[in-house]
Symmetry: C2
Subunit: 421 residues, 2 copies
């Protein structure tokens, strides 16, 4: 049976609503109180399977140190054939009818770590972070708010998967607290800028593509090459200081408004695990230039949700529910464009999709859009209002693809806002 | 005597016009045919002093593997006190009156490598590449050409050291050939964009700051902290595709127009070696916000030259001669601003100054300005005209600070343009 077969079951008990059935097996980096050295693992139900332990037990046929690492980069560098073979092997080891691990009590005790007892680290060493802007709905909303209601999309938007280089040093794992940034602010009413804590702190719901192979400087990528370079996907919160951005961004784009933090989920879901959930993206009209043309279903049917919990709330409340399938430009198109000038791609490059907004009012991927630049604050359960994020607010994103009786998900990416230092 | 003392002489013969007297000692990474393993060295006259060889001979008191590396990052990570102590020690070892190395024929033969016989590698592993836009003359010229002649500077320019994140993966060392990039082009006369080789390929003369220490996410830097984090400086050519840039850059800034290549000199001149050449920068009016205010001389009196050689020319011809002292925003101000949102800085961050243009017509740091966007092509010796770079053209930048009887320089950064792949 193919590792994605819906009929597969594991000897590890997995509830139907779990993000981590045997059909998923996303990669992460974990450590435990007993063994604080970070190593690579995959999530299965409420457990993490320690791949360094499997490797030490000679159950995986791979270079010796590939999983005793603080990132998945060394594993990614081995390439798509190894990714496929390793996933199939781990999948086989976890099947209910395979005794190799199931009946090896000592190894099981060592390799199956209860999720509640592990520390989850940043799963990849981020080589470069690039952020795209590929939701037509989001670009239209932003253009309507800040530029021209009657002509909100800039002329290049339908031709180029617009993107910019972000800051790799502040990509952090879910659970990392986020200091409110300081920066230069100049509201339209002020004559001169001042320096102080951002007043319009926002999130952006995105999916991150993790590039697992490099490409040479001076060369372009075909659709096929780009596809095979994609190792997997992560949930991504592109924290944004709207007021800093508004003053700084002309003419060279966002800089400090986005540089203070980007949060990702601890789990990288492999491209292969998402294969059953491919769907066609929106029709692209005008047709993209030939180097950007794609055949077949190039998007994913992936549910995405955002929840917010203020210090006064017991539980997070859902404030948005959308789907990755709405994205106008696909991940493959983004990657092909990224390399089109001859830009070398690196193992560990992270490509943010851009804010994922859908066509409906409750499908928007940022507070900027949900509160229409603060003019229509969200009303939360309990009656609190939010135009932008306040200190103490916690933001939680979740994402998953729904199969028949199982779901392939990311876990969550959570971040709580602290006051400016 | 202080290592910068102009009276110092080395037992290695150094001509007055050499970039590498005993007062300089810039760091690079070299290998030789005999020993192809890259290691760290410093330039002295027409030689490279192999620091790994000195270390093996126990003449330097540092962690064992710090110079047997393919980058200077491990050395930089040791911090400013080690930088200072190590430079003083190397300086002492090279003095004409110190017999330790001078009279140790065997070690001298091993450690002093003729420059003509070494291969020069990229000296640092670039953690992040950021490019600023800090010459008022350059920003004024660009604004005059493309925006508003009567009001060329955007409102934020005099308040913010404007910058954007660049692409680290394509920072290459001098001598690397540069493929002309492909990209989306839409001249104003065309209705739709097309994809093909860039037609307006340009250079930008810049100085790069090499950050040698990290800072924590969520914290700001004082002027003093930023100063001490700067390890040194490099010459930098920010290759630019003007036509790609013009179509892609709104609203998120340059992306593929700058992603294909950035060339730097093989030698990182230390901040300490440049101390004698500090000068005051231009008066900043309006006064910067308090977090950006600096005391004392914050610029450097550093001569910069650009030369161009077409395939038909025997020798490069100088096309620009300017000075780093003209920069409006200083390197320290750039670094303080970079961290101001809480952005973590990393060992190996490279900060481009932005194009260095002076007030005069022959002091401009890009062909865009020298040929006024191609409308006034440069006439080269031999009669050829250049609006932008053509295939086969070779671009050479040099830079140095002139002392009394010696100069502290960078060597050169050279790059030749190849046809699009």
């Amino acid at each position: 049976m193919h590792p994605n077969d819906p009929r597969l079951r594991s000897f590890v008990d997995v509830k139907p609503e779990s993000d981590f059935p045997i059909q998923n097996l996303p990669y992460g980096v974990v450590s435990t109180a007993d063994d604080p050295a970070p190593r690579v693992g995959v999530a299965i139900g409420d457990f993490v399977l320690d791949l360094a332990a499997l490797q030490a037990a000679k159950l995986l046929d791979l270079p010796e140190d590939v999983f005793t690492q603080s990132s998945i980069n060394a594993f990614m560098a081995l390439g798509p054939n190894v990714w496929r073979r390793t996933r199939a092997r781990i999948n086989a080891l976890l099947r209910h009818d395979n005794p190799e691990l199931r009946d090896h009590a000592e190894l099981r005790a060592k390799a199956l770590l209860p999720m509640s007892q592990v520390k989850l680290h940043l799963p990849l060493r981020v080589a470069g972070f690039t952020d795209f802007y590929s939701s037509k709905e989001h670009a239209t909303n932003v253009g309507t708010m800040f530029r021209d209601k009657t002509n909100p999309l800039l002329p290049n938007w339908l031709h180029i998967p617009i993107g910019y280089n972000g800051r790799a040093s502040t990509v952090v794992v879910s659970g990392t607290q986020i200091h409110r940034p300081r920066g230069q602010l100049k509201p339209p009413s002020a004559e001169l800028p001042s320096f102080g804590p951002c007043k319009r702190l926002d999130f952006e719901l995105e999916i991150g593509v993790v590039v697992g192979q490099s490409s040479a400087m001076g060369t372009m990528l075909t659709e096929q090459q780009a596809e095979e370079m994609i190792f997997g996907f992560t949930l991504l919160n592109d924290w944004s200081a709207r007021d800093i951005q508004q003053w700084e961004y002309v003419p060279l784009g966002p800089f400090q408004a986005k540089a203070f933090a980007t949060s990702i989920s601890p789990w990288i879901v492999t491209r292969e695990a998402l294969e059953p959930f491919r769907v066609a993206g929106p029709v692209q009209d005008p047709a993209p230039l030939p180097y950007l043309q794609q055949k077949g279903a190039n998007n994913y049917d992936m549910a995405l949700e955002v929840a917010l919990r203020t210090p006064a709330m017991q539980q997070p409340a859902r404030i948005s529910a959308t789907n990755f399938k709405y994205m106008y430009w696909s991940s493959v198109q983004q990657l092909v464009h990224h390399a089109s000038s001859g830009c070398a791609m690196s193992v560990g490059d992270l490509l943010g999709s851009g804010t994922v907004s859908g066509p409906e009012k409750d499908q928007l991927g940022s507070l900027l859009e949900l509160s229409w630049n603060g003019t229509e604050p969200l009303q939360l359960p309990g009656g609190e209002l939010r135009g932008f994020l306040e200190d103490g607010d916690s933001l939680v994103m979740r994402g998953w693809c729904q199969g028949d009786g199982y779901r392939v998900g990311f876990g969550e990416v959570e971040g709580t806002v602290l006051a400016a230092e």
